[in-house]
Symmetry: C2
Subunit: 323 residues, 2 copies
Amino acid sequence: MKYDVIGLGNAIVDVISQADDAFIAELALSKGGMRLIDARQAHDLYSRMASGLESSGGSVANSCAGVASLGGRAAYVGRVAQDQLGEVFAHDITASGVTFLSSAADASGPPTARCLVLVTPDAQRTMNTYLGACVELCPDDIDPAAFADAKITYLEGYLWDQPLAQAAMRKAAQAARGAGRKVALSLSDAFCVDRHRASFYELIDEHIDVLFANEAELLALTECEHFDQAVEAVRGRAEWVAVTRGALGSVVITPARTIHVPASPVAKVVDTTGAGDLYAAGFLFGYTRDGSPEECARLGALAAAEIISHFGARPEVKLSTLL
Amino acid sequence: MKYDVIGLGNAIVDVISQADDAFIAELALSKGGMRLIDARQAHDLYSRMASGLESSGGSVANSCAGVASLGGRAAYVGRVAQDQLGEVFAHDITASGVTFLSSAADASGPPTARCLVLVTPDAQRTMNTYLGACVELCPDDIDPAAFADAKITYLEGYLWDQPLAQAAMRKAAQAARGAGRKVALSLSDAFCVDRHRASFYELIDEHIDVLFANEAELLALTECEHFDQAVEAVRGRAEWVAVTRGALGSVVITPARTIHVPASPVAKVVDTTGAGDLYAAGFLFGYTRDGSPEECARLGALAAAEIISHFGARPEVKLSTLL
């Protein structure tokens, strides 16, 4: 097989700046969450934000960069435009060792997506995403042969908001499953899960072997009030369900077992952007090497610890050196 | 007066990535230096570089952002194009509290400048600058009233490579001096100094009150072999000459005295990009508050220490909180 992991997601450049809690409150943002904004809102918010750092992002793209950084063979599909940020995205993911399978859309359409990330002093990130060129992701962007040629396909839940992207995800999952491969999904965002609970369950039941979620997303999916109830509600819906719990570590739920794995120690948490994405990277890397749930979760914790120690959601050191 | 400091320089977005010494050697680059590259070289080098972080840069622009971060009133003049990187530059300098006095050139001309910065494990930076829209800086970009309205004008030596920019620098200096204001110059780069020694001396003798240089630039200017000789050779050419010496701190040379000020302690030096720029920021901030040479150099050391502790040449914390 050509790839260990192939990812499908929103190709985004992050614009990261520091903000205080008052600014988050003033804008009535939900701290720690992600909301979609249009071009005008992006312009207005950007004009009020502090000086920034730009770094390639996109949840599943970050995971693919992490897989490559760990030494895995990764490919990625996602739409950028022919503009400077599109060039940055394409450069960074390629330079990370990921095979970027999409070509840039011509510059007459919407520009490359950006996510305005506000990092508060508690290291939490609040994300405001202008999807730009990503909204045009459609089934034609999916080459079934590529998805048949990867051990596991990793789908980004955020995509589920766009009907054409849903069709693209289904096409990718079918190509993978049809070739006997595995498929993983990130729930991405509690609000997104809430908007599409029924169809998410349908997708999971039909196609998903490995499901990634954080606590809020798991509660949103299962409509449970307590974590322990949610664990039982989701058990068996996928082969493995990996749930990240921040400083509490993570839990892997298999049909028969619930495995708790602690977080890896971090000297100073600077910016939690990408923590879940890099957890998935480590986990999937382990999965493609036939790791046990414990081993996969431990690799996830290791990769997540690196990413939260600095600004930006792409590794600053080669993760394979940490193994 | 409206401003404490008004800067004139190349408006550049930095693309920062990590590189090893072998990569620097393979490309036959001069480690720690700056070279100008054309669009094709920029494309080729970028395609070989690791995944990057984008951060607004430009030597004097960094200094102006530093002055504002210290609580000073700063303005900046430099050319960007109407493109995404131009938007990033304009946003960042404005968000830093600096009044950006230039409007973006239309997108039919060269794009916004970028500097491909390779940071080696020893924290040194090797810079490859594609000047893009900056090459079109000309005397028409200078509004004499703005330069007459600032306590000190700060000119970037890098500009001296372009004849039209030289004329713009002279126009700015004349406007400032004509109104009884001060003018500072950064020598910017030893090779640039070497290319233009005679005309740099002419500019200094005619217009410059405060001269900034690092050791290499001072040796290049004075054609001395030893630092102590260079100190005597430059003494009195400007009211004050401030020379940065990395970990050795800095030296301020006045007509009557030579003042040594140590570097401020840093836990871990990550990236020396912007060290000289932020030294100048602290120094100029002190100068506009009638600080002694010692006080100015100490403020410079403080600002430089913050910038070398992280990637990027713009402060991550409000520098006034460090005072």
